[in-house]
Symmetry: C2
Subunit: 479 residues, 2 copies
Amino acid sequence: MWKPDRTSKTALYQQIAEYIEQRITLGEMPPGSMLPSERKLAEQLGVNRSTVVQAYENLRASGIIDSTTGSGTRVTKSRMGMAQLQTPNWNRYVEGGTLLPSLPFLRKIREGVQSGEPFINFANGELAPELSPNEWIRNVLQNQPFHEPLGYGDPQGYVPLRNALASFLLEHRAIKATDDSILVTSGSQQSLYLITQCLLSPGDAVAIENPSYNYSLPMFQSAGIRLFGLTVDKDGVDPEEIRTLFKLHRIRMVFLNPNYQNPTGTVLSTQRRADILACCEQLGIPIVEDDPFSLTSMDEEVPPPIKSLDRSGTVLYIGSLSKVAASGLRIGWMVAPHTVLQRLVDARQQMDFGLSIFPQWIAAHLLDSSALTPHLYRLREALRSRRNLMANALNRMLRDKISFELPAGGLNLWCKINEDVDDYTLLRNGFKRGVLFVPGSVYGSEAGFVRLSYARPAVEDIEIGISKFSEALHETITR
Amino acid sequence: MWKPDRTSKTALYQQIAEYIEQRITLGEMPPGSMLPSERKLAEQLGVNRSTVVQAYENLRASGIIDSTTGSGTRVTKSRMGMAQLQTPNWNRYVEGGTLLPSLPFLRKIREGVQSGEPFINFANGELAPELSPNEWIRNVLQNQPFHEPLGYGDPQGYVPLRNALASFLLEHRAIKATDDSILVTSGSQQSLYLITQCLLSPGDAVAIENPSYNYSLPMFQSAGIRLFGLTVDKDGVDPEEIRTLFKLHRIRMVFLNPNYQNPTGTVLSTQRRADILACCEQLGIPIVEDDPFSLTSMDEEVPPPIKSLDRSGTVLYIGSLSKVAASGLRIGWMVAPHTVLQRLVDARQQMDFGLSIFPQWIAAHLLDSSALTPHLYRLREALRSRRNLMANALNRMLRDKISFELPAGGLNLWCKINEDVDDYTLLRNGFKRGVLFVPGSVYGSEAGFVRLSYARPAVEDIEIGISKFSEALHETITR
Ligand SMILES: Cc1ncc(COP(=O)(O)O)c(C=O)c1O
Ligand SMILES: Cc1ncc(COP(=O)(O)O)c(C=O)c1O
């Protein structure tokens, strides 16, 4: 973002006024559009509020913007020379469309993350920079000469990567797949998007775990899909509940995250995996098995995936490198029956003409490399010590106020607050103190839960962050 | 794709039978699903048809597949051990969803391209391998140490790339933009997808050029958008037609491809650019200016883009590296007013959590590099000689049968056939002879036009390809 130049001879307020005027003239902020509040803009630009007040004053005096008490500051509609222009009413356009906007909670958190302020981030379920294989990726880039074609690629994905994935899935997940049955996507998120956009229709009912990461995704609502929750107990989801939901609502698909479920950290038991598959086979409904965390086991290994038991083509299996290597790589995959893949490949083609060759080429090298196993080993070690650090701090500072199970893998600790609290107040109180986390209600749970990710913050910030969280919680309870 | 091993002691037909059985057992081809015809599979595997006949015979004997005359070969529904499984009726699922399948024409062409057969490809509007800056990209990878964060990135795009784009757009397209007003996308295709999904609603009417690349995109129909055509004459589109369409159908957006329009090659005149902007400003409807070809001028430069005249925030400008560097990079951009960008960024976040850092990092280096200008110079030279080669061959072999204008830029030659021909027959006759091109009807034109791309085939294949096309055309006319 633009910042005023403090070494310039032009006064700060004047630089700001000129900058805003220029953006208005270029149509970036058309007549009628809202300017940020003085307080907010001052924060963004790192200047005193009075400087922004002066800049706005200036623009108001030239008739470029006007302010009405209560409804903020806007670009003047009848600016000289602009009077004739009836610019598009963009507000009406952005309210249209079929993709719903994100949850306000999540937007608030994202704004925090992007503000550049030094928040301690327990909100993002991603790896800290030192947990990603930076050195190793640099090596691939520098030492593997790149000789791949640079035209539009195969919309199903780069063949060497599909081959590498077939071996990887066999070795690490006991899944037999051929390059033909694998689709490369830009992460699990795109896999989920393709499934909801191409295989489900508005009005369809689907079952998802409750709480679940999927509740945080507006994409289901955007596609007009009705969500029904399956209770998550310590062994995951009960197949009988699937049967009941099928009878009641004719659910057409079941979404499961069987390993270190996001947000609860639960592992679906071996028995239930088999039972759920049998149940869904009998009912003829597909299972989407979302498995981004299985290779992050800190204690024991997870049972083989449902897909490894599937002989009937019931399971759409999706995975990703986001949680075990680098989410910025944007590489995920799906294993599915042919008819399904063909349909999804065709749709993906329409959305973006397929993936860039570069992340695919890098991912193929990573998966084929002998450095993969040592990397995973180090990752698990690091996650274990981070998790323990967080758990110890929580036990020390908040023993009577909260309760949680130690997750055996994944990036998140799911924490129940033993007293009545308002989610939004707690989030705000954390925000004020510089700590970010996700309230459980984002995942569809009742109030009084939070998801704390131990993978993202700097190790040395974990304890400090928990003490800030503890302060925020105490403030929220006593109010 | 899997191929039988010709050095193995196991007979080919047996290898094929085992391979198919394995895929059925893994649920990749669930009970009831169709197998390819014997002829087609033989082609795909590069074996005699009789070998496949024997393999199918074998599988039929084991009760794994069955064939009914007229309706082909399918995986048996009541296989032993499978009898209980009522697998998902995938056919019903893949027919659902909101994204419509691609045009059969385009699928046929794509199959041809992917078959691995040595087709001469006048169909794909992309650069031949030798026109892409391979060496230069290899240099970036090997000599620029990669030190970027590997977490989920900024969903609006990598900031150094947005800065590089701001300078690039100012220098090459006279567009003033800040990093804040630029969204990085995975190509123009994703920009168009975001616009149709987020800013338009089902039932909305939009105006597009006729013929137009946009007609080939099922995404408009998928989003329930009604398309109305604007005639393209030698100076592009007439603003009066926009006014008329607005009166008749309340069109809500105008899509234009003003430079070397795909497929006609037309350039919108300077006067009309100003007039169209004024007209749309007055009506309050946005213009989507799709500009992938402007830097491919072979003769003279094109006029400045409509966006460079825009002071009212009426134009959404989209560009891409696909046609000037490498389509496999998947890097595009959009310049738009703030409200619009915020909405699109939020939606993109839901679709794929933003773009991979790697193509963005490479693109930033390419755009910042002093090698860009010489690359563009070489590209234009090469395109010019390819275009001339194609035009000369056409004039020599088909002077009386066709007519065309020499395009001054872009990758395509738009060719009118002076006699009545059936598009599909012509395509098939070309296919038989090993030459691919796109019938004009894909772009919404009346029958009797074809789009021939001179950028993709090997230079030495251009003449040969045109002679094959000429044969195909003669056969189609005389039938
Ligand atoms: C359960 C689950 N599925 C999918 C995703 C999306 O991950 P990506 O698109 O980065 O692969 C996440 C990320 O948090 C997740 O937790
Ligand atoms: C006019 C036009 N717009 C958009 C595109 C999509 O290009 P990309 O998504 O590769 O940037 C094309 C490709 O042919 C095109 O011709």
